[in-house]
Subunit: 349 residues, 2 copies
């Protein structure tokens, strides 16, 4: 069933039918009702591509997920982010399109998406410092919003970020207040902008307390469970082991916790753990008593908010850039406690 068939079936012109369906005022309400009834009865929906050709836009948003060929890891926050964004897109009548490419081809992919008119806008994920994608997007004029920020980009752009620096500074301060001095940082890849900011927050609090950061007690890498486990094991094996861990992802925190178990250490008593929690829906850390003391910010909410921002940007390309900085919520769980001296630990065992 296409427009022509429907219109002859109704004894109307294609124009009238199209206008009736698209809510134009030039058509009487009586006619409109009749048209809509017929459309639903015959399960008519305008052909996406024809509509797009005629209007010049696709009502489709692109998400380019870049899989480094070396790194086989899928970002665990991806599902929740897309769930939040998808809901918002649906509300605005947009579809979402995924493209998977090697990281180094991402800029070309944007050019291609633009050239083919495949999408009306894109969300930029996981920005790095001086991210090469942003200049490309600005050059080709493809509307975009950034999940996070890209330090080093001077022209303004739309972004939404969590105040990672503040969150990690506060979390570190919290651990310091509990008496911890040897604090380990299990971070993400530090080319990533967010990871850099997190380290900066950690470093600021440590410096303010007059403490040196032991390079042996920091790690950065892909935020898997294994990453948390491996580095925690390495650090716990040291004679001057850390009494607290600051972890960039709840997934890695699970690994840290496994390492504590393997060492017979009780989390929250012998060793404290604070983690960033993206509120992944399948890894609830909520309830009256959260397991992990955490800096919490819902990535799903971020997806929804960014989707709204992008739709706004597409509708009004000339509007001033909008930036949003969310503060992470700090929740106290049972994974932290006052620092103990190693001798105290020994005594217990």
């Amino acid at each position: 069933m296409n427009l022509k068939e429907l219109s002859t079936l109704l004894g109307l012109s294609q124009t009238t039918v199209s206008r009736a369906l698209n809510g134009y005022p030039e058509v009487s309400e009586k006619t409109r009702a009749k048209v809509i009834a017929a459309a639903t009865a015959h399960n008519y929906s305008p052909n996406l591509r024809a509509q797009g050709l005629a209007t010049g836009h696709s009502r489709c948003i692109g998400h380019v997920i870049s899989a480094r060929p070396s790194v086989e890891t899928v970002n665990p926050i991806f599902g929740d982010f897309m769930a939040g964004a998808g809901e918002a897109y649906a509300r605005h009548g947009y579809e979402m399109m995924l493209t998977q490419v090697p990281t180094d081809a991402e800029a070309d992919t944007y050019r291609n998406l633009k050239a083919r008119g495949a999408v009306d806008g894109v969300v930029v994920h996981a920005p790095s410092m001086n991210d090469p994608r942003l200049p490309v997007l600005q050059e080709i004029g493809l509307p975009f919003v950034v999940h996070g920020r890209a330090s080093g980009t001077d022209t303004p752009y739309d972004w939404l970020d969590v105040n990672n620096r503040r969150a990690f500074e506060d979390a570190t301060q919290y651990l310091l207040n509990l008496g911890h001095r040897r604090i380990a940082l299990i971070n993400g890849h530090e080319e990533m902008d967010f990871a850099m900011r997190r380290r900066a927050g950690f470093a600021a609090a440590m410096a303010a307390a007059g403490l040196e950061i032991d390079p042996m007690l920091t790690a950065s890498g892909e935020m898997t469970e294994q990453h948390g486990y491996d580095h925690a094991m390495r650090m716990l094996a040291r004679p001057d082991r850390p009494t607290a861990f600051l972890v960039a992802s709840i997934i890695s925190a699970l690994g840290v916790r496994r390492a504590l178990d393997a060492n017979g250490l009780q989390m929250g008593r012998e060793v404290s753990v604070v983690t960033f929690d993206d509120c992944l829906s399948y890894l609830g850390n909520g309830g009256a008593q959260p397991v992990f003391t955490a800096m919490r910010s819902s990535v799903r909410a971020a997806g929804a908010a960014l989707a709204d921002m992008l739709v706004d940007r597409i509708r009004d390309p000339g509007a001033p850039q909008k930036t949003t900085l969310w503060e992470a919520e700090f929740v106290i769980g049972s994974s932290t406690g006052a620092a103990r001296r190693a001798s105290q630990d020994q005594a217990i065992h």
Copy 2:
């Protein structure tokens, strides 16, 4: 840059340019080379929608993710599945489109995708028994493949599934051989086809051993960490607590493990755990000594295989239906051990 501009620029007709780019033999190799060079130089790619309008297909695959409004949970396997599928689609020159809808509207969504010509085919996720989506898809003639199976559908269709029944039967047998008798099952939603088969496998092994299933030792629900924790806590609080857990997802297994910790029970010694492992990339359970004894099957590989199947189906709609049943790999980790009598446990404490 569009076809018309490119062709006048080259002094050729649109036909020739189009044919040159699409590899038709009617154009000389010399001309073709010139055209391709110009196209890359001017960053020309045919407009997706125009191309789709003319050819009648979209070179786009639909994935409908249904979010039950009540259940806010995102399926954790989603990211890995899409990563596998995306890679395969890219290889075949297909895009993927995501649509998020309430579960009860999913069938309508398929009709709509078809009516609008939005996609050339779809992947059906999480089939339930007598899944209402399959008849709809067959009726409207939208090519599809199913990740899993839908018992109760009699007309043939393309599917790829893991032998869930066999996996759970074997895993149960493994636990029985270790001397376990009180075995708990932490399952997914049992309207889901895979969960039903898993329970059937568990039940078969128990029955073969002449054991009754204690209804207090089974649970079904959304496979979150919390789900695993809550039910394990409930079961462990019983006087006749289980000595082993059979878990449907490594996410829930993490929750079971947390419950064991909370009860001061050591996994693999006092209580055994066997889990299904989808090989989520951020939750590695690999290495020389896996943490969890597991039934393992890569959901990423499944995504890739299903994508290939779907592309085949689209290219040859009349081909005989293809079905694939994968056997899960059984890996022995440190989460299982010989059953101990409760008294033994007591003695240790």
